[in-house]
Point group: none
Chain length 199, copies 4
Amino acid sequence: MARKIDPEQHEGKRQEILAAAHRCFLRNGLQGASISMICKEAGMSPGHLYHYFPSKEAIIEQMADDYLAALHGHFGGHGKETPTATVLLSELWSMSGWDDLSHCRILFELLAEAGRNPRIHAILRDNTDGIRDLLTATLATGQARGEVDPSLDPRHTSAVLVAVLDAAPMLPLMTDGLDFEESRKLITTMISRFLRPQP
Amino acid sequence: MARKIDPEQHEGKRQEILAAAHRCFLRNGLQGASISMICKEAGMSPGHLYHYFPSKEAIIEQMADDYLAALHGHFGGHGKETPTATVLLSELWSMSGWDDLSHCRILFELLAEAGRNPRIHAILRDNTDGIRDLLTATLATGQARGEVDPSLDPRHTSAVLVAVLDAAPMLPLMTDGLDFEESRKLITTMISRFLRPQP
Amino acid sequence: MARKIDPEQHEGKRQEILAAAHRCFLRNGLQGASISMICKEAGMSPGHLYHYFPSKEAIIEQMADDYLAALHGHFGGHGKETPTATVLLSELWSMSGWDDLSHCRILFELLAEAGRNPRIHAILRDNTDGIRDLLTATLATGQARGEVDPSLDPRHTSAVLVAVLDAAPMLPLMTDGLDFEESRKLITTMISRFLRPQP
Amino acid sequence: MARKIDPEQHEGKRQEILAAAHRCFLRNGLQGASISMICKEAGMSPGHLYHYFPSKEAIIEQMADDYLAALHGHFGGHGKETPTATVLLSELWSMSGWDDLSHCRILFELLAEAGRNPRIHAILRDNTDGIRDLLTATLATGQARGEVDPSLDPRHTSAVLVAVLDAAPMLPLMTDGLDFEESRKLITTMISRFLRPQP
DNA sequence: TATGAATGAGGGTTCATTCAT
DNA sequence: GATGAATGAACCCTCATTCAT
């Protein structure tokens, strides 16, 4: 009897390729990273790589999807009781991964690509929608509890909050010798003052 | 008999090339836009283009410099008396160019590139420094006038403000059917609440 | 316990592969059809396919042999008494398969390949020899009966007849909106006038 | 002042490439001949070749067009007075190029390709139409002069004649040690008996 | 028997760049 | 100043084939 495909092993290889691709994209950009580069990084021949992904585009899209899901996925684990917005936001900054911002540069690759590639645009939008839904609900709850300014539209506000959040990786790129911890506090302060009920 | 080169005409050609390159970069990305593409867009042969720029890299760098200078240059025209921070910020949003955000996508190309290209990184940093100096001074003046929260460190705060400003073009990419005018108001509100003296 | 290979089943698989290959070659040409394509068409893995054929070349050669044998094999079933040449020829056109000429395009693949591949050349020649032998004998019989022009050399004439026969599939490729039935009649007329005793 | 493109030199290079491609196609087939092979044959780098042709497909199509025009083009030079059909046909066989049939194998490549590539199909059809028009007119004239069987439909007959003509290169491929001169005479006899008025 | 993993050379094509004119 | 000829490495991807299971 012939061996059927082992889905676990297959998926494992896919993940290896995606991880290798992620590293290459980080080093050289989405277009600058070549398939042969990714193959070398993954210890794999080009022919074999195409056994797991039909095209470079597919690798980019899967990587984008996974990356954005991971980036925004830290919010999902807070359990049943939704925290107030301010608490939630303050927790954002403590999430793992933000400590090493370098890997966040891929976000800019994706933003750039999204402007001209409809599929990447859709992936970005869909992944953003997920976290916006959560933020919108959290803001509404906060408003009901009197912890968030009720005059702010939750839906619109959620978009601004995500943008501000994702803008943080800009800071080390734009400024030299940045004290990121200090900037983190400032952004937290800004959001806190933004959201809280006005006198 | 031989004509000396006319510096003005020479500079004019350079500008034409840079404008053509900008359009190509916008359409295809920094790496996706090819020299021959730029040549076609500029109505010029490759040999001739290399008369004005020594390499594609040089075109990208010059374009980056010009673009960032223009993007952040709107603040320079306010004359002698520095406006208060809040007024300044509110004016940011009325600056020409923000109406059509599409051209801002190049910013993300540059942010992505800056992460792996030290020369682009330097150009980005230097151009950001200029506006940060201005913002820092404005914030300090605002604090002296009692219009800005004196507990905010002007230098750090300027970095956050620039990041928030540059994050705005993310919004249309991340969200579908965005009401950008509404978002603009929200960001203005956020900054205003952030900066104003706390009770 | 181990099953011995079943020669019948083995041959059955080979036929399946050859049929799948034939369809692929028809769609994409001998070189344009890939092994993986043939595998998909045959519902088989590449490793398994190589269990039945040692190489793609072997598949092509076997397919060529089978195809030519089938193409020219319609003449074999006429029993003991050889028909006169004219009758034989008129029957050629009623043979099954000529109604759908599309599958005959493979003949041109083989002719093209035969020009540079000695093995295909040999297969083509050998298969043609078979039908030429039959035609030669038929022509000689016809001459003996006074139904065929005795001045025609039977051996040379048989080659021309086969060529004319195999040229028929060119017609739909070369002319638009061809009335193939009409052309069939014309060719029959041509051969009939060619062969019959001259006054 | 810059040198404008020299159309003659440009066309000359194109012809060189086409000639090199023709030789490669003859040796290895349309799909078997690679661009790098053609480049080597033409003494040219791949980048440069693509300066003259946008794709391999374009090379094939141009080659096909030129080849078929040359193959069928020998009929054009007969001047004003159309010869009778029999004379015309007899002249076909004396045309230069038929002596070396090897280059005619490309015809089979084109026939095979025409079956699955609509553009090659169109090129083949269009080129065949040209010679069919001439043959049709010649046949009609021959009928008016009483030299051609008036019961033959000139249009349909022209198609059959072209097919028979183009089938000639099959003979050396199909038969071993062929006396091509003898076959030529046989085909001429066949056509002559086919066309002449019946008693 | 039968599978899919695995290879690496080669496919067509584009690239940034240089050079003679 | 300005052109288009010319390069050859590298691009993404597919190929026929082998091998462990």
